[in-house]
Amino acid sequence: MSGKLRIPISVSRIGIALIAATTAIAGLALCGIAFGRSPGELLAILASGSIGSSFALQGTLLKSVPLLLTGLSVAVAFRAGVWNIGGEGQFLVGALGAFLGARYGVIASLMAAVVAGAIWASIATAMRLWRNAPEVLTTILLNFIAIHLLGYAVNGPLQEASGKYPQSDAVPAGATLPLLGNLELHAGVVIAVLVAVAAWYLLYQTAEGLRLRATGFNRSAAKWAGVNVDGQLIRAMAISGAMAGLAGGIELLGVTHRLFERFAAGYGYAGIAVALLAQLHPLGTIASALFFGALTTGAGELQRTAGISSMVATLAQAIVILAMIAFMRRGKTSS
């Protein structure tokens, strides 16, 4: 806000994030002891599997794309003081929307994903405004509905023509995301980064973003200052849902090309860890998503070469969430 463009990330906040991330990796390394491996050995596998080769690096970037978008989804909602825990469901309906829109081309398909995610999140908003139902509960419950909706779709109306597996046919070739040059990376990488920059711009460079953050910090004071706090709730939830929906659409068009049960694979929930590690800052979310993307691909390598379940990546997420909540709490009580 001074002369130059100011990116408001303070050094101490980055320090906190680094401590939390290091704690998570250390936790993973110590887990190795339970599997009869030395921590150093596990760290070496994690590193080589996530950033050790061009192939590994591309895998990390691919995993980071949905994490970045669901992380942004959580960051925008939490910034507005709306506890959208429904990224998983919004991700799934986004993918469903993208699948249904795929016949009209890739742009239309992604638009459908955005709209589907926004609508799914807005169901929770409507319940909030109509009956004051807490969105923490309604968004989680909507996740289960979305999971079963997808399950029904791939076992029923959208099942592949051969009727063999509970999955859909592949989307038409014209609707898949183009690859970048001769890499394995799809264009979703670029889209996700653009969305992160757009989210930063919205939150920190526009009047609407200012009001959204004000509502998140202190709803009552924002209301007295003339902010339409219900309007902020509606908008934040819609944007949040749209970003999670987009994540689902990109995953479908860029990676899987088909719908199947367990399609979301926890990306929605992982977004919470991504956003918290980034301390709800959109640009920090890019770094945070890369970290978790690397952890996920590294954990895949652990499973292949050391026989350690890739579920340990989830453990790392949990450690990060707990560490960040502990830091945030401390900040609250000391101020």
Partner: protein
């Protein structure tokens, strides 16, 4: 029981400030004062629930306290709740001994009325036969008939030698039942006596803090005759009694808790257009503590760019003499007076046609108070219609072109400052019936 030089602090806030008070058996003491005056804190210390920071308590007797909020298990029946308090005694016998009527002990507490819950709390306290009984706002949830019933019980207890302390801000009730009235304000005892009139009591309760020389009046009142800029017929107001013209300051005075907050909130939610609001609860509603001064000021703007907002804020910081290092300082790190100046800067920057200012100088020092008053006067001179809601009488007289008294959510007639000086104490105490027609 005798309290000597009792002081209690919560952080930097002194809740009870060097209070000495002695009680005699058989007294019914009405302890009155506005919210935050320190009544409940003092009595919690007397009851032994809180430790005083300084001071001594002599001749401590068995004390019971009935709190404003209920300490009951909703899922249990009346009998079960009494069993929790007095194990082994028959619930119906306990109720009979207390002299308080409460039927059917097998009902769940969740299903009984608020008045009945209050009675149950009272029965629990009385059943222990305390020598010193404290009732914290016991009538706030009772119907008038139930309150009468409570007074009978209080008199019985006093006749048997119990000291009863009745915390309230309802003046007529206190005068009806108390044999002695103690008035607290800002942690101190400001009046203590056996006979007080309602108006003396009301005057003792509200603040007179603005220095006399500040009472200089603004030349020229409102443009009477023109259409009022602010008119309210909200649910709280029993008539279309409130009209504020452009260029005019209308003050609403009254003892806190008589509907002032509800009035300010309903105006916030109903008024449209260029309206400025100065909220009563500055700590909760004033500023976004986590955001910068520039961001807080910019909340009123339609368009916003960080750099321009910082420039605007810098100019306002200078003009409003806000003691801040930079417009990028967190608003929460400012002192109370400077926070209020930021709110004022933001709200007046809207070039408002209407200003609703609730307790705009509460907690501010003389200098800051004067600044706030000058800004409000200047805004009125520029043509804004200002509604000032205050519990500070001198503030109302210093600023108001016209004054209404609010009592139990109802506004009095529009009074001139001279009329208000004469009639306000009675109106605030609810002892003067409102007359029809204009003026007295």
């Amino acid at each position: 029981m005798k309290l000597t030089h009792i002081t209690k602090r919560f952080g930097t806030n002194v809740a009870v400030d060097d209070v000495s008070l002695a009680f005699a058996p058989g007294e019914i003491v009405g302890l009155v004062g506005e919210n935050g005056a320190g009544k409940t804190t003092l009595m919690s210390i007397a009851a032994g629930e809180l430790a005083a920071d300084e001071g001594t308590i002599d001749d401590r007797t068995s004390a019971g306290i009935v709190h404003q909020h209920f300490l009951l298990v909703s899922e249990f029946t009346i009998a079960e709740n009494l069993a929790l308090a007095m194990w082994g005694r028959d619930a119906e016998a306990i109720i009979r001994d207390s002299g308080i009527a409460l039927r059917d002990v097998h009902r769940r507490v969740a299903d009984i009325s608020v008045g009945e819950k209050a009675k149950l709390e009272l029965i629990k306290a009385v059943a222990r036969h305390p020598r010193f009984l404290i009732l914290d706002e016991p009538t706030s949830v009772l119907a008038p008939a139930e309150a009468r019933e409570l007074f009978v019980v209080m008199r019985q207890l006093a006749a048997n030698g119990t000291t009863v302390v009745f915390i309230s801000h309802k003046i007529p009730e206190v005068l009806e039942v108390a044999t002695r009235v103690v008035v607290m304000r800002r942690g101190r005892i400001v009046a203590d006596g056996g006979t007080m009139t309602a108006s003396e009591l009301a005057e003792a309760m509200v603040e007179r803090r603005v220095s006399a020389d500040e009472g200089r009046r603004r030349a020229g009142g409102g443009t009477a005759g023109g259409p009022p800029a602010l008119r309210s017929s909200g649910l709280l107001l029993d008539r279309d009694g409130l009209a504020v013209h452009a260029g005019e300051i209308v003050a609403i005075i009254g003892v806190a808790g008589n509907g002032q907050s509800e009035l300010a909130t309903s105006l916030r939610d109903s008024l449209r257009g260029r309206v400025a609001h100065i909220p009563e609860d500055r700590a909760r509603d004033g500023l976004i503590a986590e955001m910068t001064i520039a961001e807080n000021i910019a909340l009123a703007e339609t368009h916003w760019r960080p750099r321009i907002a910082a420039q605007t804020a810098s100019a306002l910081i200078e003009r409003f003499d806000i003691r801040a290092q930079s417009p990028l300082q967190r608003a929460g790190s400012l002192s109370g007076g400077n926070q209020q100046k930021v709110i004022l800067a933001r709200e007046l920057e809207r070039k408002p046609e209407i200003i609703v200012a609730a307790e705009p100088s509460r907690g501010l020092d003389i200098e800051a108070t004067r600044f706030v008053h000058d800004e409000l006067r200047a805004a009125a001179t520029r043509g804004a219609a200002i509604l000032l809601i205050t519990s500070d009488l001198d503030e109302a007289f210093a600023l108001g072109d016209a004054i209404h008294v609010i009592y139990r959510g109802k506004l009095s007639d529009r009074l001139t400052p001279a009329e208000a000086a004469e009639r306000a104490p009675q109106l605030m105490a609810g002892v003067e019936r409102r007359e029809s027609g204009v003026g007295a």
